[in-house]
């Protein structure tokens, strides 16, 4: 099969990029789709041939990823997010509007082939909700007027102005903020090497490479009390220390940039505006465990971020911050990016590795843990973008300094994304342990339209929800855990009094049912069952016995699934039934008592 020259070059690069050829599969499929609008049968054969796979291996892998399609989409593929943060800010209304405007529904294409529509899960634009993507371009803070203008522009072939950088990441600093890893947000050309270097960039790495032994690097990170920012909060220094010192196999640093927890959009600006900080952090991690190869797995929707990362990596190579003998230290490190293709589950570390190896993103059996047997069966450190982005300043200014910024055992700062019903949704870097109440009432400018607070999702949609009475807590891992929830990914979603909690539970379950990988029974069947049940319940056909059953089914998933996705679906559900049971009872009258109960239109 003859490919367009650019795609051919891309394929050739990908085929030799990885130690295992198959790793190139998902990027190849996505790039081919970018070119042709879909992946046809002849392309499947071609890719299979190039990667020594059977066509079935290609089709079954491809079937897993929601961005990959075998039918042609429109020239403009419109993806409207209706997940929690967007829903709270009118995402459903927007989706209805777009459906009417284009006269097509979910996964349909206009007759002229210009537009296709898809209702999608969280795009990572929560602080700019409601949001949509047209192809890879983000459009945020959408109103009906703005959306109309966007379509008008697209129709006449003009590209509307996109929403980059992410809304809410560039704004006047709140005085309570402690900008450490977001310190260049809003600075012109902050993504460029010269700007980063002029602002203490690569100093931490230089120290790690030239002044410290790998053990000392690990110690510095241990001292910082840095804990994993992906959500689990595992001490980073300890994680690094688990990697065996002597390994006959290569070791890998894997950066988890598959940000997709609803309510979370911090990794996106961190990579967009400070890509060099992430590169520096990855090299530091590499030094700490004596690894020489890193990968950044970026969710497929963040294509422009991937392009920015690629340019930054190229700059870094050119300037000697990557590659052989970095800064004359004798230490070598190589780094490449890798695109996902639409799968929340691939944010789970072992599923991410499977995905990076070109397979369906199923999680792996543990033990063995990634530190011992990870990517390509080799010892692997896998950390979130925010975690790795924190390493440079820790190395430059010392672990103790960093630890001192936060609360006990919770070092440093956290990049919080505050979305939902607040006046100033946005991305705020605040010290660990900052008051939740102050975050909502002060930092985020208080409740939108003066409404009363009903509930808070403290760290992404998998966390148990907090009531308005439970917000006098400090936002660090231990305090939020004590309050019965989780600090999670730092994605706060603020929910006002007018919101229907049954509807919210329903929407959250839709997400997990959509994203369940299908590997284990309780998650696969449990999320699907609960989704149907909550749909029915919210539409007015609920029965009294359904209320305890919702939490019972959720509990039957809890702690019994293969990976944490089942827990993630169960925990918010259990908390909503427990804390807002009366709202379920109110629905037994036959209709939703809350204001505009918007219809969830997607057919899935």
């Amino acid at each position: 099969m003859n490919l367009p020259p650019q795609l051919e070059t891309k394929f050739q690069t990908l085929e030799t990029r990885y130690p295992v050829k198959r790793s190139a599969l998902i990027p190849m499929l996505l790039y081919a789709q970018d070119q042709f609008g879909y992946v046809g049968d002849d392309m499947i054969e071609e890719i299979a041939r190039r990667l020594d796979l059977k066509p079935l291996q290609v089709t079954e892998t491809m079937a897993y990823y929601s961005m990959l399609r075998r039918q042609r989409a429109g020239k403009f593929h419109v993806q409207v997010c209706t997940n929690v943060s967007c829903m709270l800010r009118g995402g459903n209304k927007l989706y209805d509007f777009v459906q009417k405007k284009l006269e097509i529904g979910h996964k349909e294409t206009t007759e002229d082939g210009v537009f296709s529509l898809e209702e999608v899960e969280c795009l990572g634009a929560c602080t700019g909700a409601p949001a949509m993507q047209v192809n890879y371009d983000f459009y945020e803070n959408l109103t009906i007027e703005r959306t109309t203008q966007i379509f008008e522009a697209l129709e006449i072939g003009r590209k509307p102005e996109t929403s980059t950088p992410i809304s809410g990441s560039v704004k006047p600093r709140h005085p309570a903020e402690v900008p450490v890893i977001s310190r260049l947000f809003g600075v012109k050309d902050s993504h460029k090497l010269e700007v980063y270097v002029a602002n203490d960039g690569y100093k931490g790495m230089e120290r790690a490479l030239k002044e410290l032994t790998p053990e000392q690097v690990v110690d510095e990170v241990k001292k910082s009390n840095l804990r994993g920012r992906g959500g689990a909060g595992f001490p980073t220094g300890m994680k690094w220390s688990f990697v065996p010192k002597d390994s006959p196999k290569p070791k890998y640093i894997l950066c988890n940039a598959d940000e997709s927890e609803p309510g979370t959009c911090k990794d996106r600006p961190l990579m967009e505006m400070m890509p060099h900080q992430l590169i520096e952090g990855i090299v530091i991690a590499g030094r700490a465990v004596n690894s020489h190869q890193g990968y950044i797995y970026i969710r497929g929707e963040y294509r422009y971020v991937l392009d920015i990362m690629d340019s930054a990596i190229a700059e870094a190579y050119k300037a000697g911050y990557l590659g052989k003998n970095i800064l004359g230290s004798g230490y070598d490190f190589d780094l490449v990016t890798h695109t996902g293709a639409g799968a929340y589950e691939c944010g789970e570390e072992s599923a991410l590795m499977e995905s990076l190896e070109g397979k369906r993103g199923y999680p792996r059996i543990r033990p063995p843990f990634p530190a011992v047997v990870g990517l390509y069966g080799s010892p692997t450190v896998i950390n979130n973008v925010e975690t790795l982005s924190s390493a440079p300043e820790i190395l430059r200014r010392g672990g103790e300094w960093y630890a001192g910024l936060g609360s006990a055992k919770n070092g440093g700062t956290r990049v919080f994304c505050i979305s939902g019903h607040v006046n100033k949704p946005g991305i705020y870097e605040l010290p660990m342990g900052f008051s939740l109440r102050k975050m909502i009432e002060d930092v985020a400018g208080g409740m939108l339209n003066g409404k009363k607070l009903k509930a808070v999702i403290p760290g992404g949609s998998s966390c148990p929800l907090l009531t308005a009475d439970e917000i006098d807590i400090n936002m660090d891992y231990d305090s939020v855990a004590k309050a019965g929830s989780m600090l999670g990914s730092g994605g706060l979603v603020v929910i006002d009094e007018d919101t229907c909690m049954v509807d919210l539970a329903r929407r959250i379950m839709h997400f997990y049912a959509h994203e369940s990988c299908g590997w284990c029974i309780p998650c696969r069947e449990g999320t699907g069952w609960l989704r149907k049940m909550l749909d029915r319940f919210h539409s007015g056909a609920g029965r009294a016995e359904d209320i305890p059953m919702v939490s019972e089914l959720a509990k039957n998933m809890l702690g019994k699934t293969f990976c944490p996705l089942g827990d993630a679906a169960a925990m918010p559900t259990i908390s909503i039934v427990k804390k807002w049971r009366h709202e379920f009872e109110e629905h037994l009258t036959g209709k939703c008592p809350y204001k505009p109960a918007e219809v969830f239109a997607a057919v899935r």
Binding site: P55, L56, T59, C520, T527, G528, N556, K560
Partner: protein
């Protein structure tokens, strides 16, 4: 025996000691404690997906999957607590949520693992009030159907197809609750059609095209017997209703083939009810074969044989026996030839040179014969010639399993790119027909060798010399002196080298062992050996001939030149097998008798056709190509046919009446096997083992004591090179297999010059 490295843990308050690395689920099973599971399947990769095997482990915060948990010293496991029961109940409730519960019409009803689990662990009521997911049933091939709503996504089928079969025809489509199994051809299967996916499916998601909607499992009886097709001797369980075979499978994991069965073993039973089956004896009248009664036909056979015997002597009569009849049938045929008629003109289509192998091994013959199990246990395998994936599917499975479970190494010498090359650690490609020379070279003999080939052989030899306990598997490419060379080379390797010669058909080995050979009595005693002649002569009540008989080609030639007057063919199609030109048509024969299932090319020429029962319709024993004996048990029955054993036994009585030899007094195959155990060297096997359904290895001995002549004539031993979808003449009547598109491809390939 407890090893010092063994570890002791406690399951449900009882101690159990297991080898290190044992999974808790296996440790529990060892104690008789059932830990339920769907996705766990011994021999396949671990999944921990179905979550049925969750158990409590002391000090663990959550329930743990027993299928992935490795037993540790002092571990305390509980499988019988309220928490565990609740978890199982919860999982089953999830599984049944979208399950169609169409058990009344589901083929699996009555033998379904999901039914059994719900019965034991499930809830007593259904709480699912939502709409069930529905998908229409899909036909993937004539052999395999998929019913997605019934599928519980345990992925056993996907794994057995990929890991076990190395085919990878099944994958997973979609994700989450929409996940479904998909075939490699989008809407159909393009594979080896082994049907392993059907047997391994715990529910009725994958069903068999030949069996679906035919019956209920409790309406059938189950007969465990030996597959009638290739020489590997897989156990297959026939499901029989009213004498009709409706299904063959190996779900009970019996026999050395355990979970394995190929397309022929699973779907190749329907020849038994093929419309062209001969169901009445046929006697040629006025040039045409006309139906006859058994009495008349057998009387005519004996009368005419006696006439020829009288007129032209015993050596004017010849016998060609079968590769598919039982040991007892073959034993009787040999006895009729040698004791009733008094000739050594007896042979069969020889497909492997067992005689030379046993002779070359001499006193080592018993210990150096590898069983199918020993093949799996080999550290290294040397494969010379043949294409086991096509011709000996179990051998290929055993080799693949040894590689995947035990990291065994595989070395291949072949002139073709066979599929097993994918798994090979070393490969020496030789020119077509160059296997003998390669072996001679390996044994240090004088062999003209292309330098490239010699280089590859040297590399292979170097690698093999570092191995020990190698099992050497070879095809019909090696015969006579080449086998001697092979044994010479094999003996030079470290440890105990063992051998398997690959023949073509279910009882190829048994035909040879039972003396369907012109120069050998049962047990490889030469016809020139007076003591052996005496022994069998006494047993059979006759003086046995000592003159070397004609082999099959010799008999066919003699039939043309008029020296052979009568030919008695049992379960063979020599006209086709030995490519007898149409013009010859065995025309000079006065009498051609064919005992078979169908009117084969040979039977069409016959004067008398005796309709025989198939191997699935009779009792007896068969010996697989590795020399392992197993019981053959009667499953179906086709009215009008008779077993070869009965036909031959009755014939002996008829012949006795004509003054030819003593009548055979053995009334049943079992009685005959008793005599075989007493009289045939190497067959003194344990009856209890056989009766338990297991295989017993024979201990062949060669009376030639190393003084063998290895000059097997060229062309005396050859393979038919059957594929997965062909099975000699019998394969032409296996309708289901022939209906598979893959079979059509094979036939096309065969048809090419």
């Amino acid at each position: 025996m407890a090893d010092s490295k063994d570890i002791t843990l406690k399951i449900d308050d009882r101690d159990v000691t297991v080898p290190p690395g044992t999974l808790v689920i296996e440790a529990a099973r060892r104690m008789g404690i059932e830990v339920p599971s769907f996705c766990y399947f011994p021999g396949l990769s671990l999944q921990a997906a179905c979550r049925m095997c969750l158990v409590e482990v002391e000090k663990a915060p959550k329930l743990q999957t027993a299928c992935t948990l490795v037993a540790m010293p002092g571990m305390i496991v509980r499988t019988n607590t309220q928490q565990v029961h609740d978890a199982r109940k919860g999982m089953l409730e999830f599984l049944l949520a979208n399950h169609p519960l169409d058990c009344p019409v589901c083929d699996k009803g009555g033998e379904c693992e999901l039914q059994d689990m719900v019965f034991t662990y499930g809830a007593d009521k259904s709480r699912f009030a939502e709409e069930k997911r529905h998908q229409p049933e899909q036909k993937w091939s004539e052999a395999v159907y998929y019913d997605a709503p019934r599928c519980i996504l345990c992925f056993r089928c996907v794994r057995v197809c990929d890991e076990g079969m190395d085919v990878k025809a099944l994958g997973v489509g979609q994700r989450g609750s929409l996940s479904t199994i998909i075939p490699n051809g989008e809407d159909h299967l393009d594979c080896e059609e082994c049907g392993m996916c059907i047997d391994i499916c715990p529910v009725g998601a994958l069903t068999s095209g030949t069996y679906r909607y035919k019956t209920r499992p409790w309406e059938m009886t189950y007969v465990s017997t030996v597959c009638t097709h290739c020489s590997n001797g897989c156990k297959t369980t026939l499901s029989v209703r009213n004498n009709e075979i409706l299904r063959a499978n190996n779900r009970d994991l019996s026999g050395f083939n355990k979970d394995f069965l190929c397309v022929k073993g699973r779907f190749g039973f329907d020849f038994t009810k093929h419309a062209e089956r001969v169901k009445l004896p046929l006697v040629r009248r006025d040039g045409k074969l006309a139906p006859s009664s058994w009495e008349d036909a057998l009387a005519e056979v004996s009368r005419r044989l006696a006439e020829i015997h009288k007129a032209s002597g015993p050596d004017a009569i010849g016998f060609i026996g079968s590769n598919r009849t039982t040991n007892e049938d073959n034993y009787l045929l040999g006895r009729i030839a040698r004791a009733s008629i008094g000739t050594n003109n007896i042979d069969h289509h020889r497909t492997a040179d067992y005689a030379s192998l046993i002779a070359a091994l001499g006193p080592q013959a018993a210990v150096a014969s590898a069983t199918m199990t020993q093949l799996y246990e080999a550290d290294a395998v040397l494969l010379i010639g043949d294409d086991p994936t096509e011709q000996s599917p179990l051998v290929a499975w055993q080799i693949r399993s040894a590689i995947r479970h035990r990291n065994a190494r595989l070395y291949i010498i072949n002139s073709k790119s066979i599929k097993l090359l994918r798994k090979a650690n070393g490969f020496a490609e030789v020119p077509a027909g160059g296997e003998s020379a390669a072996v001679r070279w390996l044994a240090g003999g004088d062999a003209q060798m292309d330098s490239g080939v010699a280089e590859r052989l040297a590399a292979l030899k170097g690698a093999l010399e570092k191995e020990s306990n190698v099992v050497i598997v070879f095809g019909a490419e090696l015969t006579g002196a080449a086998v001697q060379d092979l044994v010479k080379f094999g003996s030079s390797l470290p440890g105990q080298t063992r051998y398997i010669a690959l023949g073509d058909y279910a009882n190829s080995r048994g035909a040879s062992d039972m003396g369907l050979l012109p120069g050998m009595l049962p047990g490889y005693a030469g016809v020139g050996d007076a003591r052996a002649r005496d022994k069998f002569g006494k047993l059979w009540g006759a003086k046995l001939p000592d003159k070397l008989g004609l082999d099959a080609r010799g008999m066919l030639a003699a039939a043309v030149n008029g020296n052979l007057k009568a030919l008695y063919v049992v379960g063979a199609n020599p006209v086709k097998t030995f490519a007898v030109p149409a013009k010859d048509r065995l025309g000079k024969l006065d009498l051609l008798i064919v005992q078979d299932l169908f009117l084969t090319e040979t039977a069409q020429l016959a004067d008398i056709v005796l309709p025989a029962a198939a191997a699935y319709e009779k009792n007896g024993t068969m010996t697989n190509t590795a020399g392992e004996v197993q019981l053959v048990r009667k499953g179906g029955d086709v009215m009008g046919t008779r077993s070869d054993f009965d036909i031959l036994r009755i014939l002996s009585h008829q012949l006795a009446k004509q003054g030819l030899g003593p009548a055979i007094s053995l009334r049943t195959p079992d009685a005959a096997f008793d005599e075989i155990r007493q009289s045939v060297a190497g067959y003194g096997v344990s009856m209890p083992t056989l009766l338990l359904g297991e295989a017993e290895r024979t201990a062949p001995v060669s009376t030639l004591n190393g003084n063998a002549k290895f000059d097997v004539p060229v062309g005396a031993i050859f393979s038919s090179h059957d594929t997965l979808f062909t099975s000699g003449s019998l394969g032409r009547y296996c309708s289901t297999i022939l209906s598979l598109p893959e079979a059509a491809e094979e036939v096309e390939v065969e048809a090419r010059p």
